[in-house]
Symmetry: C2
DNA sequence: ATCGTAACGGCACTGAGTGCCACCGACAAT
DNA sequence: ATTGTCGGTGGCACTCAGTGCCGTTACGAT
């Protein structure tokens, strides 16, 4: 069959556009073959043949066979770092991180079909899953570093930064998984927004950071309507405030 | 008794004790060589030779070269699953998970010298770091699954389970890193205990879980001492009562 | 039209991981 | 003690991922 593709014989990688074509051709060929016959069963030779390039060229575009499945993480990570460095210092750090996570989420949402195929693959092939987890952890590290700087003046600031970063990433992963499982129907943006809002409430103002003065002797009285019995609510409340003695 | 040495010539792997010896010899030889000349620069042949066994035998004890650095995760994960399944259903789920994380922490604390060497290796070799991250993620998944069951009756229970699991793991990793950086001097147990306590306060009692009878019009007024700001407490409380429209 | 450059293809090599099989030490049965 | 079975072992051979090297050649620049 004659190849209508980009790089049948001639050099294609001289121009930036040509390089993108080759890269894309390799990625498409790889995903097709992976879906057809599995990841381990597919050799790099087959991918290169299917894309119409030499085996050696494959490794010029992707460092490893697994990398062909994740074509965007490195660039996104650079963007994330950039964005965090340029973030508004007066905004809530957790909001900033949450919005940055939203940017990462957008990367998946931008190409639903690719994301869904990748999801299917990562569910089946543990090597790919591990690779993706490692990538996600890099985001988390960057988030934690940013938050560590923001919280550096607070007691247990490092612990908080680590926990908050993990929480944001977990929320991101959770809405992403829901979106993937729904086949792209779920409104992931709104869900992440909502989740980040909750996390911001719970994790941000933990220690006197903003206004929230309050000495240790302040007494707070809360009144709400509820269907639970007063005893249960009081017990809950007492527990939630750290099991203070009486 | 047979020979005192590990496995110079004769068959050693027949008895369970012998197998442990061989496994240990391989691990020790591997760590020595890794420290001496680096991970990538060390071949499996060298490890096998140093341990006095054939190359093929190495792969009978460890599925891959990287696995020789992590000799315990699989078993620990099984223990973790077991422990969570047998956990007291009335206890705070987050406490249970926290204590289970403490069990994992104990695994590192049990053999400080091994943990420290491993730490040094994982800092330098990205392949090992990725592997460890993947292992840790498996714990996190198990934690999340457990918490998901506990929170299944609550709104956003799945999200909460994911976030709480991530938070506990982040706290565990944080105190572990402190301990490792301190060279084993830091009191990691106490730090984890403390961190889990804080997380339990913040993340656990979000929703009423107990009996909760009572009519729908009862008004409960609770008064407690707290270091958190009244706004936070009220917001928490309102949310914990299910976002009643008022 | 010519030159220089850089991507390409291909060859060869190392090393991880696997299948296969002959070997032999341990142990049980006779 | 001899025999037979069992299973861990060692080694050979193989596939395949990833890398270094180099001659080739298309493409852009002058």
């Amino acid at each position: 069959m004659s190849e209508a593709a980009a790089a049948p014989k001639p050099r294609a990688g001289r121009t930036a556009h040509g390089r993108r074509k080759v890269r894309s051709a390799l990625a498409v060929a790889a995903l097709d073959l992976f879906a057809e016959q599995g990841f381990e069963q597919t050799t790099v030779d087959q991918i290169a043949d299917a894309a119409g390039v030499g085996r050696r060229t494959f490794f010029r575009y992707f460092r490893a066979k697994e990398d062909v499945v994740f074509p965007g993480h490195d660039e996104r990570l650079a963007e994330v770092v950039e964005r965090l460095e340029a973030a508004d210092p007066t905004a809530s750090p957790l909001r900033v991180v949450g919005e940055t996570a939203g940017m990462v989420l957008e990367m998946y949402l931008d190409e639903p079909e690719v994301s869904l195929r990748r999801f299917e693959l990562t569910r089946q092939v543990s090597a790919l899953r591990d690779k993706e987890i490692a990538s996600i952890d890099r985001y988390q590290r960057v988030f934690a570093r940013f938050l560590r700087r923001c919280f550096s003046d607070q007691p247990d600031g490092e612990l908080h930064a680590a926990v908050a970063a993990a929480a944001v990433v977990a929320a991101h992963n959770h809405v992403l998984r829901q979106w993937l499982r729904s086949g792209g129907q779920f409104d992931a943006r709104a869900a992440l927004q909502e989740a980040i809002g909750q996390l911001d409430q719970v994790l941000s103002p933990q220690w006197p950071s903003g206004g929230a003065v309050a000495g240790d002797d302040s007494v707070v009285v809360a009144a709400v309507r509820t269907s639970a019995s007063p005893g249960v609510v009081l017990k809950q409340l007492r527990h939630s405030l750290g099991e203070l003695e009486d």
